[in-house]
């Protein structure tokens, strides 16, 4: 059996409400809340970045996996906000967690689906027998340009998954990826904020790729939406995942646990992975989980998980996603937020 042997999530404590952002730009926050279903989002502290978020999430994954970190043979971090342009984020992470130095590491980038890429490659290496354990992480501290629609959603957080063959808590039954050249969202080198093609990001990008990956995954597995207790899709806002899930035949109840974006925002590479972590926090043995990510550019990775008896021994070994989402929140006003996100020009 091959699959997840330990998982962990992490969200910063800081928040900003949609109305705080809307007020700054003279916009109607009602439209954002009703239209995009976004109420508030996480904001990284000034001393947090993709590396620190990855370390905290992976620490929780190690606490649940209860394995010797030295046995991890590969570490991949997927993000669109790696702190260095050149120097892999995972080099810092392995030293922080006591992994390696006999370990293969790499940084992945694929807009919002870099996290599931890391998970997929980690899983594949274990499956191929190349390594005993592999760690795949999705984490981001994404930025939206001031006043842009993305400013309401771009948030920070991440989740980490250790893949292995022993004491599996969620077996990976099937995977499927769907990718095409779609110019819906991009950021050129040296540009600070990403560009997006407005409405073009919906139908031909998000919906097309998720739907195709999801349908192929269902065909491959000969399963139907009713076979699943939980489903999670990439969450660029609150509305899209509900829409795409409904179109595919999943109910609100099936999507409820993983649907955290209205209060978390879009954690980009950490989006569907944090949703999966929230599901694993409450999942029961035998539960089937359906997951499809999406990354602009564009592509989707799909997974079908089957939860095992082992899950109940690990759920309480580390903080849960809802602990991070609901407790110890510190709200920022727009000025503090602008300072935190370095949107204010200062003399160095």
């Amino acid at each position: 059996m091959i699959g997840i042997v330990g998982y962990g999530s992490y969200l910063p404590r800081y928040r900003i409400k949609s109305e705080t952002i809307a007020k700054q730009w003279g916009m109607d926050s009602g439209a954002i809340k009703r239209g995009l279903m976004l109420y508030e989002k996480t904001v990284p502290a000034q001393d947090e970045d993709t590396i620190t978020i990855s370390v905290e999430a992976a620490k929780n994954a190690l606490a649940r996996a209860q394995i010797d970190p030295q046995k991890i043979g590969a570490v991949y971090i997927g993000s669109e906000s790696h702190p260095y342009a050149v120097k892999p984020s995972a080099t810092v992470l392995i030293d922080a967690l006591g992994i390696g130095p006999h370990v293969h590491v790499a940084s992945y980038e694929f807009a919002c689906k870099a996290g599931t890429e890391a998970m997929y490659v980690a899983y594949s290496l274990v499956k191929a027998g190349e390594v005993e354990y592999a760690l795949g992480i999705g984490a981001d501290t994404s930025q939206g340009a001031p006043g842009d629609a993305l400013e309401y959603s771009a948030s920070a957080g991440g989740a980490a998954f250790i893949m292995g063959k022993e004491k599996v808590i969620a077996e990976i039954l099937f995977t499927h990826s769907f990718t095409s050249d779609t110019p819906d969202f991009w950021r050129r080198e040296h540009e600070y904020y990403p560009r997006h093609a407005g409405r073009f990001t919906g139908e031909p990008a998000y919906f097309k790729h998720i739907t195709n990956a999801a349908k192929s995954l269902l065909e491959k597995s000969r399963m139907i939406p009713k076979d699943f207790q939980h489903a999670v899709f990439h969450m660029p806002n609150g509305k899209f995942p509900q829409e795409v899930g409904k179109k595919l035949g999943f109910s609100k109840e099936q999507m409820e646990v993983g649907w955290i974006s209205p209060w978390m925002g879009n954690t980009y590479s950490g989006s569907s992975p944090t949703g999966l972590a929230a599901i694993l926090d409450v999942a029961k043995p035998g539960d089937k989980i359906f997951m499809v990510s999406f990354g602009s550019g564009a592509g989707s990775d799909g997974f079908i998980f089957s939860v095992t008896d082992e899950i109940k021994y690990v759920q309480n070994l580390a903080p849960k996603l809802r602990d991070y989402l609901d407790d110890n929140k510190i709200y920022l006003d727009y000025g503090q937020y602008a300072k935190f996100r370095k949107k204010i020009i200062v003399n160095e």
Partner: protein, 129 residues
């Protein structure tokens, strides 16, 4: 330029590796060459507990240049559950809510940047629990 020193101190800054005297059990953090209690040179490497409490603290309202955008912030002397003591910034908090005896947990954070072009330097900070 702090890179070489930063690199040398990674085991203690990232993983809280301390030296435990094999003769008398005293924990030294950062690790030392000679035990301050019994003068032994025999140490084993141990990892410190990540939880503890605040022994004393100060609120920095006018910080050095590198930290001037983070003021006000708290720097505290913390006693960890295994008895070791260290100095750390207390992050993610209302500085007026910090008290002596408050329980804290050590987390992995960015400590400073070597200017705009240099390294990001990471290490431990404390959060209130």
């Amino acid at each position: 330029m702090i890179s070489p020193k930063y690199h040398r101190e990674i085991p203690q800054r990232y993983r809280l590796e301390a030296g435990k005297c094999k003769q008398c059990g005293t924990i030294s953090f950062p690790p030392r060459l000679i035990c301050p209690k019994c003068k032994s040179k025999n140490f084993e490497t141990v990892q410190l507990s990540r939880e503890g409490k605040i022994l004393t603290f100060t609120i920095i309202r006018v910080g050095p240049d590198k930290f001037s955008k983070e003021t006000p912030y708290v720097v505290a002397i913390i006693e960890l559950n295994d008895g070791a003591r260290l100095t750390a910034q207390v992050t993610d908090c209302d500085v007026n809510k910090v008290e002596i005896g408050t329980k804290v947990k050590l987390v992995f954070r960015k400590i400073q940047d070597e200017g705009k072009w240099g390294l990001h330097c990471y290490g431990y900070k404390a959060i209130l629990i």
